[in-house]
């Protein structure tokens, strides 16, 4: 593979990660959200694999495999289980409607470029130049967390934040040290398992997983 193709692939996969984040704002069908998240995980793994080939770093190759397994396969499957209990479920009442959300996403991408642009211009390289895409993904994840009220949507928001952080890490530093990266992936996996169990017991107890209807705790 020539250096040019590799760079094209890195740009493509990083772009797909952000595009997936934006699509989660557009689709309200929870099953579609899970599919988009799986695609994002695969894109992230592909990016790590390309970087690993480029640098010849075996550790990063292992990380790519782990990311593919965890974020492309296991986590979407866990989420799909929550969604399956509740067929045809949709994010019915986002606090911000879809067109406004998409406009907000455009704004967030600009914010990401403004804040990270200064950073990447310090150590310019064709790969670090893409870091704002990761930051934008983090911000869109935040937006999902704040405006969506279904349990599954909130998990998706958390995972968007997490994937965005991972994207920044890959682009800036070709991944953090292997052990830390593995620890991080494992922790995320466990968090999703925990959230899935909680969502399941909420369904069993309350008959829904709509967080707006939880009103037990307040001041």
């Amino acid at each position: 593979m020539s250096a040019g193709t590799e760079l094209d692939l890195v740009e493509l996969t990083a772009g797909v990660v952000l595009a997936c984040a934006v699509v989660t704002l557009w689709r309200r069908d929870l099953r579609a959200l899970v599919a988009v998240l799986a695609l994002q995980g695969v894109a992230l793994a592909a990016l790590a694999a390309v970087l690993a080939l480029h640098t010849g770093d075996v550790g990063l190759g292992v990380v790519a495999g782990v990311v593919l397994l965890a974020k492309g396969l296991v986590i979407p499957n866990l989420l799909a289980r929550v969604v399956r209990r509740d067929p045809g479920s949709r994010e019915t009442t986002p606090l911000v409607n879809v067109p406004a959300s998409l406009v907000a996403a455009a704004g967030l991408v600009i914010v990401a470029y403004l804040s990270a642009g200064r950073l990447t211009s310090l150590f310019p390289s064709p790969v670090t130049r893409l870091a704002p895409l990761g930051l934008a993904t983090v911000l869109v994840g935040f937006f999902v967390l704040v405006t969506r009220r279904k349990a599954v949507s909130q998990i998706v928001g958390l995972l968007l934040v997490d994937n965005g952080v991972a994207l920044v890490a890959f682009l800036l530093t070709a991944g953090v040290p292997l052990l830390v990266e593995l620890g991080a992936s494992f922790d995320v996996l466990l968090v999703v398992v925990v959230l899935q169990v909680l969502a399941t017991s909420m369904r069993a107890r309350f008959g829904h997983v709509d967080l707006d209807q939880l009103r037990e705790l307040h001041d």
């Binding site: 890490a169 040290p177 830390v180």
Partner: protein, 487 residues
């Protein structure tokens, strides 16, 4: 060797608790293990006093005086919580709300939780520190929801979601620190780039622009786990819904273990940026936390939530003390971490007992505790006195020294504003406390407080008072530990 033992002992106790069916002896065994951690923490403090730090596990673990101090704090609170857990689990099983299997699960999770905190303070690598702090969230989620009520479920959801987002931001901050370190010429490579020692050695060469962004993310991210405003909203729910021994551990040590991470990063950032930048960040979040605590304490009707908001206040005070950043300030912050841990653990454990015997956590419905249950009421009363920072308890000394340090570095206005907010908090807590403790007693005379509750809690209060009257057992350790991260 010491570092290994400190991590292995609580974990082995947890494994045993998972295998042997629950009975009181299992509870005592976990308490014994945590007492062992406390003793080893003291040994570690002696070993590292004015000597180079201990390493273990190929350099993955590292213990200096600051780590030793944190191990002592964790061991102390874990011991208190383990003894009270016996009482809690017995009562839950007797009341038919819990099974022996559920009780075993509780013991296993608590021991894993304690081990994760110990791993966080013994980790040589700041990435490892991050992973351990994240793992505490996972271990505690089901503990928060252990009572299996609607509120507990809602609280655990909020807890795990908000803390995971916060900790993801802390990870991004760590990535930026790593990025800055990679661009220091001649810096270590590979896994040791994030080692505390190599980062400290290179701190003056880290790129300031990158470090500014990193520290903002780290203060926001770890600040979530510390319970600092604006990311504090999970704390009152989780701390009020969790079983009392878990609340004691979470409020008494988990918050300050997360703050320990901030202290470490602050030392690195101060090298790269000078003290002003992190100081400004900490002053903002510290004062915001005090403001949140003051405004929400006024209207509190639930005594467990009252204690939770009180934690936000104390974390704010600790952040302000750390903002001052001198050796005196950090020594006072560390003493405050210990004093707050002891007092808050005693109060949460006492509140668990009150909830058990009174059946409600509403302040309105529990009047005149002092005349109806003198021992329990007395413990709660003295605990509140300690927490409000009155002498002879150690929080008085540490708050005084933190204010002194703030004046020394020209943060007099911060000390002034925080005193004002503390006065509001004082008035609010006194009003709630007066209703809870004094007032007209009803007719019902109730049983005495069992010794398993009274003795450890009185012990905790006495320790808190001893450290307030004379810091001699700790003085040298506090300064050695403060010296690690102070300028």
């Amino acid at each position: 060797m010491l570092c290994y033992a400190i991590l292995v002992i609580p974990l082995v106790a947890g494994a045993l608790a998972g295998v042997v069916p629950w009975r009181r002896a299992v509870g005592w065994m976990t308490a014994l293990a945590n007492a062992g951690v406390l003793c080893l923490g003291v040994a570690l403090a002696i070993e590292t006093d004015h000597r180079p730090p201990l390493g273990a596990l190929d350099g993955a673990l590292r213990a200096d005086a600051l780590s030793a101090f944190m191990v002592i704090v964790i061991g102390t609170i874990a011991l208190l919580a383990a003894v009270q857990a016996i009482r809690y689990l017995d009562a839950e099983i007797a009341g038919g709300r819990s099974s022996t299997r559920h009780a075993s699960l509780y013991c296993v999770l608590v021991q894993v939780f304690v081990t994760c905190m110990l791993a966080a303070v013994l980790s040589a690598n700041l990435g490892g520190l991050w992973a351990a702090v994240e793992a505490t969230t996972i271990a505690t989620t089901f503990l928060v929801g252990h009572r299996r009520t609607d509120g507990a479920l809602e609280a655990s959801w909020k807890y795990v979601l908000i803390c995971s987002v916060g900790i993801a931001l802390a990870f991004l901050g760590t990535v930026f620190v790593y990025f800055a370190a990679l661009h220091v010429p001649g810096h270590a490579t590979g896994a040791s780039v994030l080692d505390w020692t190599s980062l400290m050695a290179a701190s003056h060469h880290l790129n300031p622009t990158v470090m500014r962004l990193a520290m903002a993310l780290l203060v926001l991210g770890y600040g979530t786990k510390v319970g600092l405003a604006p990311m504090h909203s999970w704390l009152p729910d989780a701390h009020s819904q969790a079983p009392a021994p878990v609340s004691a551990l979470m409020s008494g040590v988990l918050l300050t273990v997360a703050f320990y991470a901030l202290l470490r990063f602050k030392a690195i950032a101060d090298g790269a940026l000078g003290p002003d930048y992190v100081r400004t960040l900490l002053v903002i979040v510290g004062l915001a936390s005090l403001l949140v605590a003051a405004s929400l304490l006024l209207t509190q009707r639930d005594y467990k939530r009252m204690l939770a908001y009180h934690s936000i206040e104390h974390m704010g005070l600790i952040a302000l003390g750390a903002a001052a950043g001198t050796t005196l300030a950090i020594a006072a912050v560390l003493l405050h971490i210990l004093g707050h841990g002891l007092a808050k653990a005693v109060l949460f454990l006492a509140s668990g007992e009150i909830l058990l015997v009174e059946g409600t956590s509403e302040i309105e419905k529990v009047p005149a505790l002092l005349s109806r249950r003198p021992v329990l009421g007395g413990i709660f009363g003295f605990g509140l006195v300690a927490l409000l920072g009155l002498p002879p308890f150690s929080l008085f000394v540490s708050e005084l020294n933190m204010f002194r340090a703030e004046l020394d570095v020209g943060l007099g206005w911060v000390a002034g504003v925080s005193l004002l907010l503390m006065a509001v908090i004082f008035a609010a807590v006194m009003t709630h406390g007066r209703h809870l403790l004094l007032g007209a007693a009803g007719a019902d005379k109730s049983a005495a407080t069992p010794r398993i509750v009274a003795i450890p809690l009185v012990g905790g209060l006495v320790a808190c008072a001893v450290f307030g009257l004379s810091a001699w057992p700790l003085q040298s350790l506090l300064y050695a530990a403060a010296h690690v991260v102070a300028r």
